[in-house]
Symmetry: C2
Subunit: 318 residues, 2 copies
């Protein structure tokens, strides 16, 4: 089970043209194809990915055209990015596998992740995930007229455009497509799933799933997916080779290995950023506590070395 | 194999809000769930759908926001609508099946369809499928500066906004995800695939698939998918109960059954509109010539009756 970071699809300095994103996906696919080539006949690969920049761009586009075209809800935008990014990764990985003579089908699926309606993130002003444009106070008031339920937070101390809409980032409870994905993996398919943390849904009292305006962390959702497919290895790929303590300080140091107990302590001590390394470490802890064998955080371009135990940060039982 | 028409997702008079589209998909899902309930243990259901209004809206949104966000290519927009519509159908059908106590997983996949680079639709000014906004001549000239390769056609005889961009609508050659979809169907999954006619790709000389700016007819692509999954029944659902001859004329009449030879003659005589009933009839002819057992065109709300042979137009061998 591999979770791809944002840099696998779009570099931070890029605008996000189709060509730029295909080129990043091609690089990513080249690295992943090397992993597939090394797999034994019983091995399987499942992939998940983020969607932050893509869903952000989509939301801005929807908003700018709102007088002509009805903007779609956030769950729909999430589904759209699963199609968009799924296609790019699927096409690039399939092409790379063809080059290597590996005949394994790759398919991205539309995938929902259930969250709990009572999650603290849905309560009052708890919502924590900023989405869409930076706004002025006047714009916030204008939007509030149409959407009194929206929550806005001041995300920058100064400047006119310092407000952003925030949405809940609830904890993923279950992968709704678990059964289908299990069967696909059993059938030898490389599955791309849970994209962007999955499309967030809640289970209503009538037994129906319903989309909600939320964004689920993709690493925590990826960990749920790892459980579903009974993964033995959970590899989170990002833009740093190893997790760091005292990040950005003079006594900063890399960790190659930490126990669950150490990881929990570091989390508590605030070594890992909430929207960044924090959920990655948390996802690894969960995976090992669930019964997974190996949980590793490393950088995309070191994927092979990380699998070989030559680099990366491994979270171990104790 | 069921091909859903545009009305299954959005009514022509609607603007296309998320709520409107979910309600249409719910109605569609309720009807399809009845079909699933009647299926025997060996029976399988595969679903495809159009994306005209959705991809049109997306293209307009991308265009209106183009100074802020790079508009994505047409293959990407197609992939986005596979996510969007796939999610809505998947969620609604899954909910309906839960109500009926049927435990069959439903999954929409990102799906590419190969077309031929030498297809006549790619030659010169042959492109025939209008996409995006109606434009003025001045706007056309402006876009031409940035995209000299784009083709525009005057689609209305009068009025200032009478131009539209047209893109090739090439014949679908092969479903790229054929192997994966076959395995999923074998594993008992209800697969939603080839949405919007599939994401159009061409096979480059280096053996890589590459997205192209084109739109594939969803019924013709659906027929290719029917071959892939070895379907015995191919059901095209639209907004009319039966195919009509002399459509809109005093001697208009409904057909309940036509042979391939008759269907080909009617096509030649111009009874069926090019962008509408024409490709549906053509797809049915292909399916029966390939070796399919039953090819039926009927309306969505008569799906059960059409399967029972009580209504619809069936195309038979001879």
């Amino acid at each position: 089970m591999v979770a791809l970071g944002g840099n696998a699809i779009k570099q931070a300095h890029e605008k996000g043209t189709t060509l730029e994103q295909f080129l990043n996906c091609k690089k990513t696919a080249t690295l992943l194809a090397q992993v597939v080539k090394r797999m034994g006949p019983e091995d399987r690969l499942v992939i998940t990915h983020g969607n932050g920049p893509q869903v952000g761009n989509l939301a801005v586009q929807q908003d700018m055209a709102k007088d002509a075209i009805p903007p779609q809800d956030l769950d729909i935008l999430g589904a759209m990015t699963q199609g968009q990014i799924g296609y790019m990764l699927q096409q690039m990985l399939d092409n790379q596998l063809r080059d290597l003579g590996v005949r394994m089908p790759v398919v991205a699926v539309v995938n929902r992740v259930q969250v709990n309606r009572n999650d603290p993130e849905f309560q009052g002003e708890n919502a924590s995930k900023p989405v869409g444009n930076f706004l002025t106070e006047a714009e916030v008031k204008e939007i509030k007229k149409k959407h009194p339920e929206y929550i806005f937070k001041k995300v920058k101390p100064t400047g006119e455009r310092c407000w952003r809409r925030v949405v809940p980032s609830p904890d993923p409870v279950a992968n709704v497509e678990a059964e289908a994905i299990k069967r696909m993996v059993d059938a030898g398919i490389i599955v791309i799933a849970s994209g962007g943390g999955g499309i967030p849904v809640v289970l209503d009292p009538d037994g129906h799933n319903r989309g909600v305006e939320a964004v689920i962390d993709k690493d925590l959702a990826g960990e749920r997916l790892a459980e579903v497919v009974n993964a033995d290895t959970f590899l989170i790929l990002t833009d740093v080779e190893r997790v760091k303590l005292n990040f950005g300080k003079p006594d900063e140091r890399q960790i190659s290995r930490m126990t669950i107990a150490e990881a929990k302590r570091y989390l508590k001590e605030g070594h890992f950023l909430a929207g960044s390394m924090g959920p990655k470490v948390k996802a690894c802890i969960r995976f090992i506590e669930w019964g997974g064998k190996r949980a590793i955080i490393s950088s995309l371009d070191k994927v092979t070395e990380a699998l070989d135990g030559k680099t990366g940060t491994e979270i171990v039982k104790g």
